[in-house]
Symmetry: C2
Subunit: 318 residues, 2 copies
């Protein structure tokens, strides 16, 4: 099976919308940009043994790479449209590629994101996905919009990614049921696309938590020229694994573990009532964890005292 | 130097047009699509030791990866706008990254293509570039438009890529001057963006020659449901290296060598006069090498006899 057969067989079945004038199979894809909207795009790479353990099942890799890519669109409040895939493989094992494509499309199709192009090359396993979405003009959720006194929220739970990694690396032992919950959270983190779109016009800033809350909230603060105070006791941590470790360790993971792919966002006081009513009505799962401050520092507080971190979040070259 | 410093220091200086509302530094880039035009995009990966020899100077890699990516836009007749970069590096050597960025921007700036986002990860050296351009609605040059009796042209010379590789791999010995010409052609192949835009409305189909003319013209034929006859004696081959090898070998390289990044395009009879006048006036460097036929085969003819190939073009998994 050569490069061209590989693409045709496993990626040719991509679901494609009417906005795609030319998909896979030419030198470029041609698309019609959605009228009256701005384009939003992001490129993400995952490397074997760095972003997922060596030997990870191909379907899981496909799911995870797509979830992580869509998470960046979610952080901008964007609607997903198209993606391209650069797949570098040591050898074109058809079974591996079929399973990878299954995983990839299971997520892409759910968010109506069409594969429109790609490149297949031989080399060490490495996957790059570029996603494209759109927003109403001027409405993208940026990192730079947080203002002092805004309330800081996060969607879902934090620390699942770090707990999952601890289990995978055999540093934490949990029940079979919890193991299965954590594996799902690690390999198939829900991209918060729906939440992101809902927050347009309500949140003042947003980011997806991929390097750990402490690092990522720090990026909102830096971009906005503000600081933040986080009440560590309010961090949302899943009851599933909470009891298998100490409270301090669980909170440390919630603050510094990567791979959660939740949204961290800030809400100005005038919109807090609306957001809290959405939470009460179950329209969004989110928790207030602190507030934005004037002072250029990220303060962690637990029971009224400063909370010290052992490490400060994932950095690829740190 | 960590991931964030790396990006800010070497890629933060990207020249950015007024259509870029948000460039590097957020979860996504935000751009304004050019009004009344369709978007054209392509993703390309180059792997250390596969697409360039191990140990290649960083600046050369930067130049080459950008030239190759822009070549795909050229093949569609598109104007370049933006690109994103996924850079996987074994270690973040600042000198390497600075030289790589110099090479990359030297080409990107020439074609007014703005870096708007990226991802830097640790792993085996691997570079993915996604380029975005635009065309007038319905005007993209596709592979599928060739019709019987159309004349087949190529820009510039063919076989330079293969000759360069032969020299780099010490399978061919040439003079210092010719060596320097070939290295330039290999590492800095001119993306035929200007020629591509000029051919919109004149060419019926186009492709960039990256896997060898035989393979790439074959893709035009397959997509268009036609065949082709190529007069091997008319293939444009550079006088620089022609004399260092046999005529048959030179023609073989022109047909099957990859990495030339010339355009191969077809022109309907009614536009041939116009194209020939452009060639005479020096507005485009191109050579007629054959014609499109009804029969679904790619026929190579030399002095009235069939020409047999030893190999048939680059295939990553062939």
């Amino acid at each position: 099976m050569d490069e061209f057969d590989l693409i045709n067989t496993y990626f040719g079945r991509a679901a494609v919308g009417s906005d795609v004038l030319l998909g896979i199979g030419d030198d470029c894809a041609v698309v019609c940009p959605p009228e009256g909207r701005q384009l939003v795009m992001s490129i993400d790479t995952m490397v074997d043994g760095v972003h997922f353990p060596k030997g990870t099942a191909a379907e899981r890799i496909g799911v995870r790479v797509m979830c992580a890519a869509l998470s960046d669109l979610a952080a901008m409040g964007a609607r997903a449209h198209w993606f391209t895939l650069a797949l570098t493989l040591p050898d074109p094992d058809p079974e591996w590629v079929a399973a990878f494509a299954d995983g990839l499309f299971s997520i892409a199709n759910r968010y109506e994101c069409s594969l429109i192009g790609g490149d297949t090359t031989r080399g060490p396993l490495c996957i790059t996905v570029q996603v494209h979405g759109s927003v109403e003009p001027g409405k993208a959720l940026r990192r730079a919009g947080a203002r002092p006194d805004d309330i800081i929220y996060v969607t879902g739970n934090l620390g699942d990614g770090a707990a999952a990694l601890a289990v995978i690396e055999k540093k934490l032992t949990v029940s079979t049921g919890v193991f299965s919950y954590l594996l799902k959270r690690f390999y198939a983190p829900t991209p918060r696309i729906l939440e992101g779109e809902m927050l347009v016009g309500t949140a003042s800033a947003a980011i997806d938590v991929s390097d750990g809350l402490y690092a990522d909230l720090g990026k909102i603060c830096e971009a906005s020229g503000v600081g933040a105070m986080v009440d560590v006791g309010r961090l949302p941590i899943s009851e599933h694994w909470r009891k298998y470790t100490s409270e301090d360790r669980a909170q440390e993971w919630a603050l510094t573990g990567g791979d959660d792919y939740q949204l961290c966002f800030t809400v100005p006081r005038e919109h807090v009532g609306k957001l809290e009513s959405w939470i009460r009505d179950g329209r969004i799962v989110a928790t207030a964890i602190g507030k934005i401050t004037h002072k250029h520092e990220l303060l962690l507080v637990k029971n009224g005292k400063p909370f010290e971190l052992e490490r400060r979040g994932y950095n690829h070259f740190g």
